[in-house]
């Protein structure tokens, strides 16, 4: 039997509106564990450090290979995916907190609906439905495809929104993730047909592109290394030109 243990200090919350509290767990050490497997260990034997039986910690996960974004949480102060957070590389006690920029459902589970709503708002897809077969779209040059692939790595994990000082309860800011998707779909030869519409969406109403304060935390925090601040600056250029077209008059598309 190994004597080594792992200590986890977890911010828990019973329901979406109850007060959060910290609970500490000591679990036996195994090699090559990640935060998810440590949470599974707690689920197997939900006893806290005082020896009291408690409820298992709730968390969210799906792919377990850092492509779905579901298991994002704040680990030792840094928002990241818990599947790729290796225990051996973390300082103990390991502090786990939910991404509190989103509504907390329970324990480490948060509701990221606002991100998916944002993607719907900006039409982060390529509309091809019509009343007749539109045929094949224009081809995309390979270098551009490779460039666009980097932007397409976004998994809507919410880390950039967590790190952004302008995404909070006082602001409606849409956040970097959906903005970068506007750039991605506007770059696509078929998606480009809705370019003006997407730009209008992020210029319209409250909480649009101009809410960015250029703290540039998002690009530092992004686990996929997406050039979020470059996307925002590029959209600043596009929306500036779009606003000139709208005001001074020109073809809007």
């Amino acid at each position: 039997m190994s004597e080594k243990t792992i200590t986890l200090k977890i911010k828990r919350q019973k329901t979406h509106d109850s007060d959060p509290y910290f609970e500490t767990f000591n679990i036996p050490y195994r090699e090559n564990m990640n935060v998810i497997s440590a949470l599974m260990e707690i689920r197997r034997n939900p006893v806290n450090d005082k020896g009291e039986a408690t409820t298992a910690v709730a968390w969210d996960s799906s792919c377990l290979e850092e492509v779905c974004g579901a298991c994002s949480m704040v680990i030792n102060g840094k928002p990241q995916q818990s599947c790729s957070a290796l225990i051996d590389k973390l300082e103990q006690p390991i502090k786990l907190e939910p991404l509190n920029t989103f509504p907390v459902t329970r324990d480490l589970v948060v509701d990221r609906s606002r991100m998916f709503d944002s993607l719907k708002r900006v039409k982060a897809w390529i509309p091809i439905d019509g009343t007749y077969d539109l045929g094949p779209g224009p081809r995309m040059p390979e270098p551009k495809r490779q460039w666009a692939y980097e932007l397409s790595k976004c998994m809507t994990c919410g880390v950039c929104l967590q790190a952004c000082p302008n995404v909070n309860s006082k602001s409606e800011f849409i956040g970097p993730a959906a903005l970068s998707q506007v750039r991605l779909f506007n770059a696509h030869p078929t998606g480009e047909m809705h370019k003006a519409e997407r730009l209008e969406t992020i210029m319209d109403g409250e909480g649009g592109l101009t809410n960015c304060g250029n703290s540039q935390n998002c690009v530092q925090a992004c686990p996929k290394g997406i050039p979020l601040t470059t996307s925002i600056a590029a959209l600043n250029r596009d929306t500036t030109l779009q606003s000139f077209k709208n005001f001074f008059g020109s073809d809007r598309i």
């Binding site: 000082p165 909070n168 602001s171 909480g207 304060g213 250029n214 703290s215 935390n217 600043n236 606003s243």
Partner: protein
């Protein structure tokens, strides 16, 4: 019906910070710097500004209205942020925070400064070297001036950086980095001019 009022306000806020307010700050500092050449030189320079035609209209259009809009809307923007430099102590995040701090310092200072100079002039006081020398005779006032000169210089310099991003001039990380060097150089130059000028009144 499109209602991109916020987009418009933000863009106007960004533009006014540079034109006319940034341009005004540079002119203001240049006039102040005449004090380095002695009281007479300063009085001539300040007197020249006072004798400009349509002065009151220009003051309102180029200074008071832009500064009220930029300042009040800026306060709204500043207090919307939830600062997190303790968790994310990146350079740009600090600049984001300092931009808001320096803006708040500047707007408070400007309110006092306008009261102490322009409004006193409206009450009949004469704006000249002696007026400033009397104000900064108080070491607390001098300290407030020096802090606010640094704050205003920083706010303008870093504001130029974010202006370039906001209007889509500097898009690539490299252009943004070079813009950081240039604007921080500008911050040092402006602070030097401003502080040397105020010390000429001591």
């Amino acid at each position: 019906m499109s209602t991109n009022r916020e987009f418009f306000y933000r863009k106007i806020h960004s533009l006014l910070g540079v034109i006319p307010l940034g341009a005004f700050l540079i002119v203001h500092f240049m006039i102040n710097y005449q004090a380095v050449n002695g009281p007479e030189a300063y009085n001539v320079a300040a007197g020249f500004m006072e004798k400009l035609p349509f002065l009151l209209v220009m003051e309102f259009v180029l200074i008071y209205i832009p500064i009220l809009f930029h300042g009040i809307y800026g306060l709204y923007i500043a207090f919307q942020a939830k600062h997190n430099t303790s968790t994310y102590s990146y350079f740009r995040n600090w600049m984001f925070r300092l931009q808001r701090i320096s803006g708040v310092i500047t707007i408070i200072f400007v309110a006092w400064h306008v009261w102490d100079t322009r409004i006193q002039k409206a009450f009949g006081a004469e704006v000249n070297y002696d007026m400033m020398a009397n104000i900064v005779d108080n070491p607390l006032a001098l300290a407030a001036y020096i802090i606010s000169i640094i704050a205003a210089s920083f706010h303008l310099a870093n504001g130029l950086w974010s202006f370039a991003v906001t209007w889509g001039i500097t898009v690539s990380p490299r252009s943004q980095l070079i813009a950081t060097y240039v604007t921080m150089g500008f911050f040092i130059v402006m602070s030097f001019i401003g502080i040397r000028a105020i010390l000429a009144f001591v």
